[in-house]
Symmetry: C2
Subunit: 810 residues, 2 copies
């Protein structure tokens, strides 16, 4: 560590940057400063050394900011053609890019979406006057206008026009505005199907990036999907004609009496939803007619439907890899841009800590001084005090690490007196022992079987008796003792850091609350009792495959949630359309003329003395408000018996209503196929990964270890005192005190973060990534070598942004 | 071609073999011949040259036969530990391994299976007396005993005992035998569930190797499947307890009133079969109860079920590759064994044509002399007259080629007089032109739309009018003209060699037959008319993706058929069990006490003057005979509304009957998941293959070209005359005549066969295959170098057969 001997390195001058932030140039020009050519970027600001130190510092601040913006753009996969180009755009950019603005965006979008709870076919409890909800809507729309105008300020009119998603949003906004005003003026709600487009406000939110990615992936998978869908529909039409000719002579067969019925019923048969029924009339007449249905189902359901999945899976696979590649290269380009803004002419081989620290102040303002220095050290692989470009490429992997001093003491009770220490040590050993673990598994298993048997014995009746069952108390006591032992043995912090322990803890707590509820006869809480069986999930820790599956499940969870949200957005669109057309058309005994009359029947007849209610219940599956619509749409998604809902609505409206249900089926089929393809892809990927890295089985995320000496800390404190006063050095001084206390010359810090899909992909495609990098840098070099950064910032970006622009919309 | 100048090479002596066929040794010992040590194989038959030529020839015949057996074993993936070990075993082996025996095996198995059509709950038309069918059964079983005893003779008692599949078969045979005799003696049929085991006779057939492979694959995929299934059932139990606690207080909810009902209904919900219904009573009471069902379905149906597919798909993928590898190496070992038996001590570097020809006479007796020589030439890559081991490794790829002389004339009409030639040439050009093709596509499309519109206009009524519609005649005329033009333009042979043309031809023929039927008022033939729309399938030739899909479909067809057969075997087992337990329990109005009474209702009440028949039809889904059982089981496979069938049967028997239906569901789920995984795997594989070989797009299978000179043919004729008389040379002489006629010195032959999955895999795993070979040969070498073939035949085989034995059963 040759450079540790030269703490003076931290007190160097700022130096002059190789490349100047574009805002700075603009700024100086606007101020009538010393720069007279705006596009002067190509001549690297000669004669800087004579500019005053404070001015140099101001200039550097600008560079830091732009570098941080580049890095953010790289991380968020924002294309560089939306990069703010001047100081005014920068101000707008900064205004638009912070959590407050994001939250405003999100809450406006949510408000607009939630309005449909209160509008015309409203949820009864939430009904609002037309004046109230129209005013609310207008208010929300005005906020959206404000947001859009800020964005326009940032992007500039040219880019704004070119950005398709924003343009679509603007159009939708315009339409919504007019409609809201019309509603206010007429004081009555008209058919507003356009409300279905409100989703775009949510999709456009910064926080919904994952949803946009999903939508893009769905649209990319569409062409092959549609091809196979056509094949499917083609066979359907052929079989419909065949079926019509074969079965329409049978007058007791209502399914094939016209070609339209034949088509509709074969479409429904595709979902198997009417299966044995559609076959029965012809089967009763001639047993061999079952061949028609068996052949149809074998071809359509068992072959072409699976083909559909295969094609989507294949496309999905391909897209996932290409997406990973393009994101990786995009990040790399962003790092190159940032790097060029941070190196000085005096030392062009790397970034010094001072400049790195400046960057981090903008990139991650909430990072403390200690973490900034540790990040710098973690990046710096060489013996020099500078971070080279090669090291800097790891920026995104390192900056997410959470740093903690490696504890000198192994357990939380190490500092306690001898007797207490021995007791706690004993508990610790007990808790970590296999015997203890397996005893607990046995207890949980016994408890599970107990609950099962107990519930089986109840057989209805008054099972919520007033007295608390003793078994409940026994098991809960055991769990309580286990919780207590584990908390004391491991220390509360370590205990709760494991997901499984957290789960144990909350389940035990809930069970205890249930016990309290039972003991104090608080009826409304009784249902907590039923959470008990969930404790059985602990048993699945035992087998490796389950651990794998559950781990993968947790890793997939964010992505699954975003897919679910995507599905909900489709639901919203269809719910609005459904409400506009079908609200109130379905009610008890509504469809007595249709073939599904039974399902909608509600008869209240008296047999002897008893009143027998014959309920078909299907009138509950209606579009009377948005919540009901969502439930109805979920039932349509599950597809079983969906034709009953379809026929019910159809019998009350026109037979064109079927189009709505059929289109919904196809849309959910697309989304569901994508979900299946995603789960398939993720698990197959994960299993291949496990197979490839069988040695490094137990992984707890990414861990990095760095040692810091006392001298270094003192050096940094000095540096910070010079830059920003003493405010940031408090934590650093605490480290020095700590070291003094234990008489150490250095402290070891551990950086930790959880493993992401991107980390796994990095490892899986290791070899290919090197090729991509080479190909990428070859492309860059032929256009502009890195040695001339000024022109590079223009020309090297363009081909990338042009290539990726086609994927930008939505 | 240096060796063409030495035709004497064909007339060489037989030479003495390096290794001697094991039968030969045995034979000589038994005859008290010149060999006195049985295990003499290690000393390579010294002093052979003084044995007479005819004896040498006899010895060689034995070597040829054993080599051919080795090659057959390699091809059929028979393990080498079942290799016949002596002359007696050889005789039995030859008896057992020919198509007559295979056919006997198959027909016996089919007879046994078909007996269930006539036994106790028989198909009404096929009912046979107990005496008749029991006698038939006994007869079939005696044939099986004969087959088994022949196999025992071949395998020897030791191997026979070790071969698990055969042992299971023997046990089943024993049980069946006793039962058949009991039936004959008592003259009444008892509960014979063991009939379900009859399938094993079919599975064991030589022709059902694909079914055995499928079954093996299913069993290999079971462990991970069961793991995930347990997770699925665990969540089911937890939700069942939760559901019981939550919904049983609602007395109008029949689905959750006991824990058993709760479990059963959640199991059915897993198949979505009772979906909105099971939710409705609780949903009507409290709308928020839908959350329970949504969460349950999301976890079970949309997550864990897909997980199941992912796990099976992953396992399947892995197994497919391992299977391919082991089969490849098995074939290689077989080739090595055969090679050792065919080389002579005089020329140990390769196999001469004479010996190769001897091999082929046993391996493929129906190959003609010309093809044998062409196969030899295709294998021989070197300039020597010997086929080296390296060349011989390609044996399986080359031996399947069909050889044809490359035509001198391009078209079939080239020999016709000038005028006729010009006419036909014109037709040929017309038929091959794009304009003609697209015109035909347009005609087909117009025809399709015409049929659709025409059918739509009919709207029921008397659409089978006596007069033939003119549109039908017009379109059929166009198709007829096209068929005629194509047949004359391309020649009938070339025309019918394309699958699509064959399809066109048969559809047009059928349509013509339909026309005849219409014209002559032959009612029973009217349904042929409905085949017309199938002609629309031709339109799919237009797009590349469809061509790919359809090609893959045809490639997959054999495998799909075998999977279907596997499913049918499972059906058979369940059908027998179902018939034994549930025959006759379901009939109209049988289940009036159950919740599904409506589906079984058959009411014939009079409203006013009309008789209204209210039919539930579900009583048709019964187990009254094996055909009905199959249809019922298919309905259970489709799973929609399967619980109605289950509940119907349950209400008439005990509630343990549900176990039958649930087990059937799980079994079909396994098979169906395998089918989906297979389709996924095959298509993803194919698409990857296409992506990898984008340049060689249009492939018509494997094609090889070989040129043969006149001298060579004459040489072979001489050779054959010496070996086997003039009988085999007729075809060769024809070639000589042909050459003389056209004055050629040589003829080019084309070898052709269709591409198999194995060929694709060879190309896909190209690099890995080399590694496998190296690894394999390294393993062999460390055990026995190829230079000492005698001991190799024993020791090098054993580890392989031991390793693979675990996969042998079934």
């Amino acid at each position: 560590m040759q450079w540790r001997e030269q703490p003076a390195i931290y007190f160097e001058d700022y130096g002059s940057p190789v490349e100047r932030s574009s805002y700075l140039i603009e700024l100086h020009t606007n101020d009538g400063g010393s720069y007279d050519v705006i596009n002067d970027a190509s001549s690297p600001a000669a004669g800087d050394c004579c500019v005053q130190q404070s001015s140099a510092r101001h200039n550097w601040e600008m560079n830091y900011q732009e570098a941080a913006i580049y890095l953010q753009e790289g991380e968020n996969n924002d294309k560089f053609f939306t990069h703010p180009k001047n100081a005014k755009a920068l101000a707008a950019y900064l205004f638009v890019h912070n959590h407050l603005f994001y939250l405003m965006e999100l809450s406006t979008a949510l408000l607009l979406l939630l309005l449909s709870l209160c509008e015309a076919p409203a949820v009864p409890m939430l009904r609002l006057g037309i004046f109230v909800h129209a005013t609310l809507e207008l208010f929300a729309l005005i906020v959206v206008v404000f947001e859009l105008s800020m964005k326009m300020r940032w992007l500039g009119f040219q880019t704004f026009i070119r950005h398709k998603r924003t343009m679509v949003k603007t159009c939708v906004l315009f339409v919504q505005f007019i409609e809201a005003i019309v509603v206010l003026v007429r004081q009555t709600s008209h058919v507003r199907i356009t409300r279905a487009l409100r989703c775009i406000f949510l999709v456009d939110c910064r926080y919904c990036g994952a949803v946009r990615r999903n939508l893009r992936q769905i649209f990319q998978s569409l062409p092959p999907f549609i091809d196979i869908l056509l094949l499917l529909l083609f066979f359907m039409v052929i079989f419909a004609i065949l079926g019509f000719y074969l079965f329409s002579p049978n007058h007791s067969d209502p399914y094939f009496n016209t070609l339209e019925n034949s088509l509709v019923n074969l479409f429904v048969l595709l979902t198997t939803s009417n299966f044995p029924d559609v076959m029965m009339p012809s089967y009763a007449r001639n047993p061999w007619s079952c061949v028609f249905f068996i052949v149809y189902l074998s071809i359509e359901l068992y072959f072409i439907m699976n083909l559909l999945l295969a094609v989507v899976f294949d496309t999905f696979n391909d897209i996932e890899k290409r997406k990973f590649k393009s994101l990786l290269l995009h990040k790399r380009t962003a790092i190159q841009h940032a790097y060029r803004l941070l190196i000085t002419k005096q030392r062009p081989s790397g970034i010094s800590f001072k400049h790195f620290e400046g960057l981090l102040r903008f990139y991650k303002p909430r990072m403390c001084a200690r973490e900034r220095y540790l990040t710098f050290k973690a990046l710096n692989q060489s013996n020099t005090p500078l971070v080279s470009l090669k090291d800097f490429y790891n920026f995104y992997e390192v900056v997410g690490l959470k740093w903690k001093a490696k504890r000198n003491r192994e357990h939380w009770f190490d500092d306690l007196p001898r007797t207490a220490f021995l007791i706690f040590k004993g508990i610790n050993i007990l808790v970590n022992s296999r015997v203890f673990q397996y005893t607990m598994y046995t207890v949980v298993a016994v408890n599970g079987i107990w609950i099962l048997v107990e519930t089986f014995m109840l057989q209805g009746g008054n099972f919520f008796s007033r007295n608390v069952p003793w078994s409940y108390i026994v098991f809960l006591t055991i769990y309580g003792v286990e919780l207590l032992l584990k908390t004391t043995g491991l220390g509360p912090v370590e205990y709760l850091s494991s997901g499984w322990n957290l789960f144990d803890f909350s389940v035990t707590l809930f069970a205890f609350l249930g016990l309290m509820a039972l003991a104090f006869n608080m009826e409304p809480f009784y249902f907590i009792v039923v959470l008990r069986p969930l404790q059985l999930l602990r048993l699945f820790k035992l087998k490796k495959r389950y651990r794998n599956v559950l781990d993968t499940m947790f890793e997939l969870f964010p992505r699954m949630a975003s897919l679910g949200l995507t599905l909900l957005i489709f639901y919203y669109c269809f719910a609005i359309v459904g409400m506009e057309f079908f609200a109130g058309v379905v009610y008890p005994n509504c469809c007595n003329t249709s073939t599904v009359a039974d399902a909608y029947r509600w008869v209240n007849h008296t047999v002897g003395n008893k009143t027998v209610v014959e309920e078909g219940y299907y009138y509950l599956n209606n579009f009377d408000n948005i919540l009901n619509s969502f439930v109805t749409l979920f039932e349509l998604t599950v597809v079983n018996d969906w034709y009953i809902i379809m026929e019910g609505v159809t019998s009350q409206t026109t037979h064109w209503s079927r189009l709505y249900f059929m289109i919904f089926y196809i849309v959910t089929m697309v989304v569901m196929t994508i979900i299946v393809a995603f789960i398939l892809d993720a698990f197959v990927f994960r299993m291949n990964y496990t197979r490839k890295n069988q040695d490094s089985e137990e992984d707890n995320g990414i861990v990095l270890e760095k040692e810091i000496s006392k001298e270094e800390v003192v050096g940094i404190i000095e540096l910070y005192k010079r830059i920003s006063g003493a405010s940031e050095t408090a934590q650093l001084q605490k480290i020095v005190l700590q070291m003094d206390k234990y008489g150490q010359m250095s402290t070891v810090f551990l950086g930790r973060r959880s493993r992401t899909k991107s980390d796994l992909s990095m490892k899986m495609y290791e070899e290919e990534i090197q090729e991509w990098y080479e190909e990428h840098s070859r492309k860059e070099e032929t256009q502009t070598p890195l040695q001339e950064p000024a022109s590079a910032s223009n020309s090297s970006v363009k081909p990338l942004s042009l290539r990726q622009r086609s994927q930008t919309v939505i």
